[in-house]
Amino acid sequence: MQPLGLSIGVWVNALLTLCILSFLYKDNPFFRFAESLFAGMSLGYYIGIVTVQTLQPNLIRPLGETFFGNHNYLLLIPMALGIMLYFRYIPRISWLSRIALAVYIGYYVGVLMMQKIHGQVIPQTRDTIMPVTTGGIDALWNLVVIIGVFSVLVYFYFSVEHKGVVGKVSRVGIWFLMISFGASFGYTIMARISLLMGRFSFLVNNWIRPMFGS
């Protein structure tokens, strides 16, 4: 026998799952209720988790406990920038929010530029420069990768009309793209079935079976 609180939770969980699954038959008020509830809960959860797990330990507590120690007073700057973001809702001083936004965007553009160049462009380009004359199956796969990368790049090069040699190479690029889309689609199906299985497993093992005492 499950504790009452747990069984209420399971029932709410199960009924909301059925509300969402009911969309597969057709759109209905139960689905819309569950969808709206989920959206609202998610937003509330996000606000709560950021307050408790980030603002409290990293801002409020250090300022309250030791304002001058560890140069904690410097935290007033990000705090002010964060508050300034909300000035956009006050028309008279809405321009101030742009300063905070500029700092925010500037930081993340800087981080992302390094991240993309250092972490993706360079290593992925380096990984495409591979030997194709060593013989064996590895050389063959290397050749496939090189042809794939080259032909797909040609496909996305729009400064030259895609006819003649360029057209033929870009056609090869389309084939590579189609194969990669197929692989992605296969993985997507696998992911969606996993989610379906997760819900069905919950309904069968946590909701229906306990009802019948098995």
Binding site: Q53, T54, P57, V111, Q115, P123, M190, I193, L196, V204
Partner: protein, 290 residues
């Protein structure tokens, strides 16, 4: 028989067939075999190569929507770490539920180990907002980014935090990720701080992560439920304790191996529908516009 009717079959009939196909193995598991592959073996070998006392970060970068795929991975990896006496720092950078996934999983798995001590063998650092900003700051000081644990306790008194100060003291970062977060660990943390990164991801994200695996930016990729089931199989093949854990019917309800039965059956159904649809399409003479 009117072939056109079959071609325009109501989609709800397809849903019903898929639902029945998914329910059968859940009610009566089949136990289809699973064969581990190199992308998954990479993480197993890495954890096996570590010594007791070495540290790993496990980042819970997913929410309830990815729970069926990533919880089994989390369970298997945590069990492996704790049996190897590897210290585990648990954290989350995914806002919508990551920290709750971590709390539930850690509570469940640590309850299997009597000798584990919180703050010494493992710690749950909780969620931190900021994504890449938090990841970068961990390179300087874990304590500065996470001054308190998930329950708000001061972590400076915990021995594990005095031993593991930043990425220099971490042997591998394991991100259980939905969406793009696993990619950040590779293209930011691995690229800039040379920390080995392994990603357990949802199947949707798996194809793009193989490029990172091939380029050496990740040491392992566990793709969806299949990756999780392969890790469970590796544990079963190598450890007596794992054979015991994964033969418990209650545990098997949560295991990825059981889920792979569902995958196999539903995939066959979908393949049959695709073949059937194409045959009908050609048999009816490729009707205009359909």
């Amino acid at each position: 028989m009117n072939l056109k009717k079959l071609l325009y079959i109501d989609r709800r009939i397809i849903y019903l067939v898929v639902a029945i196909g998914a329910l059968i193995p859940i009610i009566r598991p089949i136990g289809l075999p699973v064969e581990p592959t190199d992308p998954v073996i990479g993480l197993f070998d890495k954890l096996e190569s570590l010594s007791p006392g070495d540290a790993v970060i496990i980042s819970y970068d997913y929410g309830p929507s990815s729970e069926p795929e990533l919880n089994p991975m989390s369970s298997a990896i945590l069990r492996h770490c704790f049996h190897r006496e590897i210290k585990v720092l648990i954290m989350a950078v995914f806002p919508l539920g990551g920290v709750n996934m971590a709390i539930r999983e850690v509570e469940r798995i640590t309850s299997e180990f009597e000798d584990l001590e919180y703050g010494v063998d493992y710690v749950n650092l909780g969620y931190k907002d900021g994504g890449q900003a938090a990841m970068k700051a961990l390179a300087v000081s874990i304590r500065d980014v996470f001054p308190a644990d998930v329950d708000g306790n001061d972590i400076s008194a915990m021995p594990i935090i005095n031993e593991i100060r930043n990425y220099d003291d971490v042997e591998v970062v394991i991100s259980l990720a939905t969406g793009i977060i696993g990619e950040w660990w590779a293209d930011l943390v691995n690229a800039q701080f040379s920390v080995p990164v392994a990603v357990g991801c949802t199947a949707v994200s798996a194809p793009k992560y193989y490029a990172f695996l091939r380029s050496g930016q990740m040491i392992a990729v566990l793709g969806g439920l299949k990756g999780a089931s392969e890790y469970e199989e590796l544990l079963r093949r190598n450890f007596v304790w794992a054979r015991k854990v994964y033969s418990d019917p209650a545990e098997m309800k949560l295991a990825a191996t059981t889920g792979m039965d569902v995958q196999a059956i539903v995939h066959v159904i979908i393949i049959v529908f695709i073949i059937f649809g194409n045959i009908m399409y050609f048999a009816t003479g490729k009707e205009k516009g359909r």
